[in-house]
């Protein structure tokens, strides 16, 4: 049983300036939770507090039923994979993996058995006699994971373990981590600033910003129902398109961009009621690149927008089309068969069932 519970956790490194404000998260037993957010938002700090490498300024941390605030790192039964792996340079791979077991005074046979089992799982059996400096980044990374799993800890922590790998290896390792999580069925907390990693790995994702939790939910919910503009812009590639505009004072309920380049009838969008209180106020419209199409939708309501193609990125299976709306760059993800060229005038169709609206003042999502 190793659920991890953070209750109103705060952290100040120096004086009163808090880098973690007030974080409350419950991680269930065997769950894979990803902490994601821009650089400097406090992901590593949070992880290191769970590990016991940083003191907790305020709040309480529980692992299982035990309050951990004052338990030293060495007694928390946690394994951590560091960004640069922190493999002991003077030890071989075997010694690195066996180190924690040796410290516990396990018999030699059992150490050998556990290390070779982990090595088999990670396919690094042929590396056991090497020193860290004689291995590639990907191999070191595996050893670092191996060192974590031989101990069979209650909780695994990962701090951007893939960021030193190239794109291809990153993709492979991501899949292997998923597999590993299933096989070990252990609680894992994983830090990354890469939202693709977060989406593919996490059972649930914590989106952090400036030391505060923006949203804690499943990947799909984050994608479909972001609670605020920050989450909406952070999750998904390419990022969501945003456009601020006014809700009309009177007459039919409409969204109008400042120069009337975009005018959307809201009566049929499902936001009819939700946006009524915003009459005369500014809101932000959000729409994802994949909710924009080059042909009308047959099964749902849509908004038709004439645009001029400004740039194109052909990705093979799809084409990213860039265009300007009210002088802001929008991106649409279109199917690749389109024969588009720069400067071309086309009509694009915005799926109005996929609109998001945000309060311009609070940046909070307006629920339909």
């Amino acid at each position: 049983m190793a659920e991890v519970r953070l209750k109103h956790i705060a952290k100040a490194y120096t004086g009163d300036s808090r880098v973690i404000q007030d974080v409350s998260i419950d991680v269930n037993d065997k769950e894979f939770v990803v902490l994601v957010g821009p650089s400097g938002c406090g992901k590593s700090t949070l992880l290191r507090m769970i590990a016991g490498l940083e003191t907790i300024t305020d709040g309480e941390l529980f692992i299982g039923d035990r309050r951990m605030n004052d338990v030293p790192a060495s007694e928390r039964d946690i394994a951590m994979v560091f960004q640069n792996y922190a493999l002991y340079p003077h030890m071989t791979v075997f010694e690195n993996m066996a180190f924690g077991l040796k410290l516990r005074g396990l018999p030699k046979d059992e150490i050998r058995e556990r290390v070779s089992k982990a090595a088999r799982l990670l396919e690094i059996e042929n590396l056991l006699d090497r020193k860290p400096k004689d291995m590639s980044g990907g191999q070191r990374q595996r050893v670092a994971i191996g060192r974590a799993i031989v101990r069979n800890p209650q909780v695994f922590l990962f701090d951007e373990p893939l960021s030193n790998l190239d794109a291809k290896l990153r993709g492979q390792t991501r899949i292997e981590l998923q597999k590993l999580h299933r096989e070990l069925s252990a609680t894992m907390i994983y830090v990354t600033h890469d939202q693709v990693e977060a989406m593919t790995l996490g059972d649930r994702i914590v989106v952090l910003r400036n030391g505060d939790v923006m949203q804690y939910d499943t990947p799909l919910n984050l994608y479909n129902h972001p609670v605020n503009q920050f989450v909406a812009g952070f999750i998904g590639t390419p990022p969501m398109n945003f456009l601020s505009g006014r809700i009309t004072d009177a007459g039919p309920l409409r969204f109008e961009s400042p120069n009337q380049e975009v005018m959307i009838d809201l009566a049929e969008t499902g936001y009819g009621n939700a946006l009524k209180p915003y009459r005369g106020k500014t809101v932000v419209l959000g729409i994802r690149a994949e909710s924009i199409s080059h042909q009308p939708f047959t099964d749902r309501t849509f908004h038709r927008q004439p645009v001029v193609v400004e740039a194109l990125e052909n990705m093979g299976s799809e084409t990213l089309a860039y265009f300007l709306v009210e002088n802001q760059r929008f991106i649409a993800r279109l199917s690749a068969e389109q024969n588009l060229s720069f400067g071309q005038r086309i009509d694009l169709f915005w799926d109005s069932t996929k609109f998001h609206f945000f309060d311009a003042q609070t940046e909070q999502a307006i629920q339909p």
Partner: protein, 286 residues
């Protein structure tokens, strides 16, 4: 390049070459030549073949001096390393007044060896020395720090260690600071105690520094001279006669320049041999 320009580089290195030739190359070559001669500075040199070498192997006092020096090293080197490393570990933590202690430990290093030796001589005196006065004050027997052949060399070893320890503390501090903190964090998470972290992480990771300190204090220790020369003049019963002191005596008291050069030459080979052994057994690849 003109013809004249060609000579400029030679002109630029000439002072160094000259210095090297006069103060390094010539003395080395000359002393090797001396080992085959008998010479008392005044009368002309006389070729004696290998006589100096055969004499060396039969010279019991020289071997006694070598033995004394080794006895000194056996105490001095481990003591130096253990104390310097322990102090460096303490100073490496963020304790209050760390820079004060760093300066305090370093002070004896820069004070003249003669001054330090005279101070310690008074400290270690049998009747009036401060140490023995303290011992008598708490009703313990006096210790013949410098007056007993078995004790004297060890007293000197302690004193030399005290004088030099600050230098090695600094070296160790630099070494300790090169160990990335994440290794300790990783070890923390694996349940390591402070001692285990020191034993399995710090020690192997600062091996290059340890090796440097071992070699430096070996070479420094082999050249032991001022301290016994001032405090004991090699006594009692030649028990603190160091190798360098004996070589000095042969040269400047007895004017056996050829024999003294032979001893020096042999002694240099011995140091080389000891350091080679240390390199083999102390140095580890990280």
């Amino acid at each position: 390049m003109t013809r004249r320009d060609k000579w400029i580089p030679y002109g630029l290195v000439a002072p160094y070459i000259l210095h090297f030739a006069v103060f390094v190359a010539f003395p080395v070559v000359f002393s090797v030549v001396l080992t085959f001669h008998s010479w008392n500075i005044i009368s002309p040199m006389e070729f004696v073949g290998l006589a100096n070498y055969t004499r060396l192997f039969k010279d019991r006092l020289f071997w006694q001096a070598i033995y004394n020096t080794l006895r000194f090293l056996i105490i001095h080197i481990p003591l130096q390393i253990v104390i310097a490393l322990a102090l460096a570990e303490l100073l490496n933590r963020t304790i209050r007044g760390a820079s004060f202690f760093r300066a305090a430990f370093f002070l004896p290093v820069i004070v003249s060896g003669v001054v330090v030796t005279i101070l310690w001589q008074q400290l270690l005196g049998y009747n009036m020395g401060m140490l023995n006065r303290i011992l008598t004050a708490i009703s313990l027997p006096r210790v013949p720090w410098l007056d007993d052949p078995t004790v004297a060399m060890y007293s000197i070893a302690v004193m030399v260690t005290w004088k030099n320890v600050g230098l090695y503390v600094i070296l160790f501090l630099v070494g300790l600071q090169t160990v990335p903190v994440q290794y300790y964090e990783a070890a923390d998470l694996e349940g390591a105690t402070s001692w285990q972290k020191f034993r399995f992480i710090t020690l192997p990771m600062i091996n290059p520094t340890i090796f440097t300190v071992v070699v430096l204090s070996t070479i420094g220790g082999f050249s032991l001279f001022i301290e016994p020369y001032i405090m004991t003049e090699g006594g009692p019963m030649n028990s603190t006669l160091s190798a360098v002191m004996y070589i000095y005596r042969q040269a400047f008291q007895y004017y056996h320049m050829g024999y003294s050069a032979t001893l020096g030459f042999f002694f240099a080979l011995l140091i080389l041999f000891v350091v080679a052994i240390q390199k083999r057994y102390v140095e580890q690849e990280i």
